[in-house]
C-alpha cells in the first residue's frame, strides 16, 4: 500500500515522515505544559495561563491549516486519498469526539450514573455498523460527498437533493452544539461574555478549515486528537493517584464505585450511582432506544463517513475504522472513571460537613463558575454567585447543612471544573480547557466542511453549473463555509439547549434520513430510486416532526405546552420512529415500482468488490 501513496507530488515526503513529525509535536506540547506549570508556580496570573494555553494551541492549528492550503480539487475534498489508516483513525477520533464527548459526557455520567452509559455504548458500537455495512463500499465507489453516492445509486438529482437537506439539518444541529461548547470554554477561561465568546470560537474554527479543505482538516485533527487525549487523561490519572495511590483510573474505578456506594448509603442518596434504569427518566426502554439511535446515527453521519473517503484503498478504509474506534475507545472507557472519581470527590466534600456559610471557603470554584454563567452552579435552587447569595437562598428553604442534592451542577461544566474541584493546580484547568477546545474545534471543522462540500459540490457544481472551473468551485465552497459558520454561531448564541441533547438530535436526524438509503443501496439490489426518495422523505420527516413537536410544539415556542411524547420515548431518540418508517416505506415503494436497470445492478456488483477502478473518477479541470 505504502508505495502507491507517493504518486502525487509533494505528498510522499510528508506521509512517510508522519510519525516523526507528530512525535516532535507531542513532545513539544508536553514541554509547553511543563513551561506553563513553571510560569504558574512563578506567580503568573491564572487568566494569562488560560490565554496562553488556548492561544498557543489555536496558533498551532492555524499554522497547520495554512501550510496545508490547496487549490487542488482532490486535495480539497478528500485529502488526495492518501491518508494512512492509522492517521485517518486518529483524525476520525478527533472529528468524532466533540464537545459532547469531551465536555458533556462525563458530566452526564456523573449525573445519570449507569443510565448515562447509553452514550458510551451508543457512540462506540455504531462503528461496527460503519465498518460492516457502509464505509468500505462508499470508499470503493469513490465519492466526494455522501449525496454523490445517493445520486449515482438512485439515479438523479432528486435523491442527491434530499440527501443534501438531511446532511445540512443534522450537521448544522451538530455544529451549533460545538460552537456553544467553545463559547462556554472561552467565557469561563478567558473571562469574556458568552455572546462574544461564540464568535471567538468561530474564528478558531475558520482558520483551520477554510484554506485547505479536507487536507488541512485531516492534519489539524490529528494534532487536535493528541491535545485532547492528553488533556482528558491527565486530570483523571491525577485523581486516581491521589484517591487510591494507583495511576490507572480505568481499573481503580471499581474502588471509586465502592467509595461512592458507601457515601451514598451514609447520606441516604437513592437511586445509587450504579443502579440501572432509574436516573433522569431513563427507563430500560429509553436506555436501549437511545443506544440504537446513537449507533445507527454513527453509521449515517456524513462528516464521519467522509473521513473514510480519504484512505488510499478499500482495505485501508476497513482497518481505519478499527483504528478510529481504538482511538475513540481510549477516551470513552476513561469517561465513566472520570465521572466516578469526580462524584467520589464531591460526595467526600459534602461528607466533610458543608454549610451555606463555609462552602465559599471550601469550594470557592463553585462561585467562580456561577459568576461565568448563573445556570451552571445552583445551590438551594439559586445561582451560587457568592456566600451571601447562598446563605440567603438556603435560609429561605430552611437548609442549614448542605446535602448532595442541594448542590446542582450543570452537566456541561463538570469536566471543565473537575481540576478545581479536586484541588489541582490551575495549569491543569488550562490544559483541560485547551483539550475541550480541541475537541469542539476539530468536530466543528469536519462538520462545516461536510456542509460546505455538499453545498458547493452537490448543489452548485452538480446541479447548477456543471462547467464551473475548479478555482470558482473552491472559492464558492469557502464563501459558503464562512456563511454557514456565522449562521451557526448566531444560533449558538441563543443557547437553544444543552450540548448533549443537541448532538443526540443530530444523530437521530441522520439515522432516520440516511441510514435506510445507504445500507439498502449496497445490500439490496432491488432498492430503486422511487423507494429511496420516498424512504428518505418519510424517515427524515417523521424524525424531524417528532423532534420539533415535542421540543417546541406547533407554535415554535418552548414555553408553551408541546406535543405529548409517544409511548414516553424521549425526543433525543426521535429516530425510534423515523428509522422503521424509513425502512418500511423504502422497501414497499421499491417493490411496487420497477426494478433497477441491468446497468445499475452491475454497478452494485462493482461496489461490492474492492478490486478494480473506483467508480467515480473525477475530472480534474
Amino acid at each position: 500500500m505504502a508505495n502507491t501513496t507517493s504518486t502525487t507530488a509533494g505528498g510522499g515526503d510528508f506521509t512517510s515522515n508522519l510519525g516523526r513529525i507528530y512525535g516532535i509535536y507531542t513532545g513539544g506540547f508536553i514541554a509547553f505544559i511543563i513551561l506553563m506549570a513553571i510560569l504558574s508556580a512563578m506567580g503568573v496570573e491564572n487568566v494569562i495561563i488560560g490565554y496562553l494555553f488556548m492561544g498557543f494551541t489555536i496558533v498551532i492549528y492555524a499554522v497547520i491549516g495554512i501550510l496545508s492550503r490547496t487549490m487542488h480539487v482532490g486535495e480539497y475534498y478528500v485529502a488526495g486519498r492518501r491518508v494512512p489508516a492509522l492517521y485517518n483513525g486518529m483524525a476520525t477520533g478527533a472529528d468524532w469526539m466533540s464537545a459532547a464527548s469531551f465536555i458533556g459526557m462525563a458530566g452526564s455520567l456523573y449525573l445519570l450514573g449507569y443510565d448515562g452509559l447509553a452514550f458510551v455504548l451508543g457512540w462506540t458500537g455504531g462503528y461496527v455498523l460503519v465498518a460492516i455495512l457502509v464505509a468500505p463500499y462508499l470508499r470503493k465507489f469513490g465519492a466526494y460527498t455522501v449525496p454523490d453516492f445517493l445520486s449515482a445509486r438512485y439515479g438523479g438529482n432528486l435523491a442527491r437533493f434530499i440527501g443534501v437537506i438531511v446532511l445540512f439539518s443534522c450537521s448544522f444541529t451538530y455544529v451549533v452544539a460545538q460552537i456553544f461548547g467553545t463559547g462556554i470554554i472561552s467565557s469561563r477561561f478567558l473571562g469574556i461574555d458568552f455572546n462574544v465568546a461564540v464568535y471567538v470560537g468561530l474564528a478558531g474554527i475558520l482558520v483551520c478549515s477554510m484554506l485547505g479543505g479536507m487536507r488541512a482538516v485531516t492534519w489539524t485533527q490529528v494534532a487536535q486528537y493528541i491535545v485532547l487525549i492528553i488533556a482528558y487523561l491527565i486530570p483523571v490519572i491525577w485523581m486516581s493517584t491521589v484517591k487510591t495511590g494507583i495511576p490507572i483510573p480505568q481499573l481503580m474505578q471499581g474502588q471509586a464505585l465502592q467509595g461512592i456506594a458507601a457515601l451514598e448509603a451514609a447520606q441516604n442518596i437513592v437511586p445509587g450511582h450504579a443502579t440501572p434504569f432509574s436516573h433522569g427518566g431513563y427507563d430500560a426502554k429509553n436506555y436501549f432506544l437511545l443506544i440504537l439511535c446513537l449507533m445507527v446515527g454513527t453509521a449515517s453521519l456524513p462528516h464521519v463517513l467522509m473521513r473514510y473517503f480519504t484512505t488510499p484503498s478499500v482495505r485501508e478504509a476497513r482497518v481505519s475504522v478499527a483504528w478510529s474506534l481504538l482511538f475513540i475507545f481510549i477516551l470513552y472507557f476513561t469517561a465513566p472513571a472520570y465521572a466516578a472519581f469526580a462524584k467520589w470527590t464531591m460526595l467526600d466534600l459534602v461528607a466533610s460537613g458543608l454549610t451555606p456559610e463555609n462552602i465559599g471557603e471550601k469550594a470557592g470554584w463553585m462561585m467562580r463558575w456561577a459568576a461565568a454563567d448563573n445556570t451552571l452552579v445552583q445551590i438551594c435552587g439559586k445561582a451560587a454567585t457568592d456566600t451571601a447569595a447562598i446563605v440567603a437562598a438556603c435560609a429561605e428553604k430552611g437548609v442549614t447543612a448542605l446535602s448532595f442534592a442541594d448542590i446542582n451542577l450543570n452537566a456541561d461544566m463538570i469536566v471543565l471544573a473537575t481540576p478545581e474541584m479536586a484541588g489541582m493546580p490551575y495549569v491543569i484547568s488550562g490544559l483541560v480547557a485547551a483539550g475541550g477546545l480541541a475537541a469542539a474545534l476539530s468536530t466543528a471543522d469536519g462538520l462545516l466542511l461536510a456542509i460546505a462540500n455538499a453545498l458547493s459540490h452537490d448543489i452548485y457544481y452538480k446541479m447548477i453549473d456543471q462547467h464551473a472551473p475548479t478555482s470558482r468551485r473552491l472559492i464558492v465552497s469557502r464563501i459558503l463555509l464562512v456563511m454557514v459558520a456565522v449562521l451557526a454561531a448566531y444560533v449558538a448564541s441563543t443557547k437553544p439547549s444543552d450540548i448533549l441533547s443537541m448532538v443526540s438530535w443530530a444523530f437521530s436526524l441522520a439515522a432516520g434520513g440516511l441510514f435506510p438509503a445507504l445500507v439498502l443501496g449496497v445490500w439490496w439490489k432491488r432498492a430503486n430510486s422511487a423507494g429511496a426518495v420516498a424512504g428518505m422523505i418519510a424517515g427524515f420527516g417523521i424524525t424531524l416532526f417528532y423532534l420539533v413537536m415535542t421540543q417546541y410544539g406547533a407554535d415554535f415556542d418552548k414555553a408553551t405546552p408541546n406535543m405529548e411524547l409517544w409511548w414516553g420515548v424521549k425526543n433525543i431518540s426521535s429516530a425510534t420512529f423515523g428509522l422503521p418508517v424509513g425502512f418500511a416505506v423504502m422497501i414497499i415503494v421499491s417493490l411496487l415500482t420497477k426494478a433497477p436497470s441491468r446497468d445499475m445492478q452491475d454497478f452494485i456488483e462493482e461496489i461490492r468488490v474492492p478490486r478494480g477502478k473506483q467508480m467515480m473518477e473525477e475530472k480534474i479541470a
Binding site: 449507569y114 452509559l117 458510551v120 455504548l121 462506540t124 458500537g125 462503528y127 461496527v128 455498523l129 465498518a131 460492516i132 455495512l133 468500505p136 480505568q250 481499573l251 474505578q253 471499581g254 474502588q255 471509586a256 464505585l257 465502592q258 450504579a274 440501572p276 430500560a284 436506555y287 436501549f288 443506544i291 440504537l292 449507533m295 484503498s313 478499500v314 482495505r315 476497513r318 482497518v319 475504522v321 478499527a322 474506534l325 481504538l326 475507545f329 470513552y332 472507557f333 465513566p336 445492478q601 452491475d602 456488483e605 462493482e606 461490492r608 468488490v609 474492492p610 478490486r611
Partner: protein, 84 residues
C-alpha cells in the same frame, strides 16, 4: 458479472456481516438486558453489569473490528478481488 466466484465471494462476505451483526446485538443490547443479575457479581469493586456497559462491551467492539478487517481481507484475497 455474476460469475460463480463472485457469488461465493458475496455469500462469504454476507455471512461475515451477519456474524458481526449478531455479536453487535449481543454486546450492544442483549448482555445489558441482564444488568441487574450481573450486578450481583462484583469484581475489583465493579458490579459486573455496570462494568460491561462502561468497559466490557467497548473492548469487545474494538477487538471485533480488527478481527473483521483481517477476515474480510482474507476473503478478498481468497477470491482474488483484493486491490493490487
Amino acid at each position: 458479472m455474476a460469475t460463480p466466484d463472485r457469488i461465493s465471494y458475496w455469500n462469504k462476505t454476507k455471512s461475515l456481516m451477519f456474524v458481526m451483526l449478531g455479536l453487535w446485538v449481543f454486546f450492544g443490547y442483549v448482555i445489558h438486558m441482564f444488568v441487574e443479575q450481573l450486578n450481583t457479581i462484583v469484581i475489583f469493586g465493579f458490579p459486573l453489569g455496570f462494568y460491561m456497559a462502561a468497559q466490557g462491551s467497548l473492548i469487545a467492539f474494538v477487538i471485533m473490528l480488527f478481527w473483521f478487517a483481517r477476515r474480510q481481507n482474507a476473503i478478498d484475497e481468497e477470491h482474488g478481488v483484493h486491490e493490487d
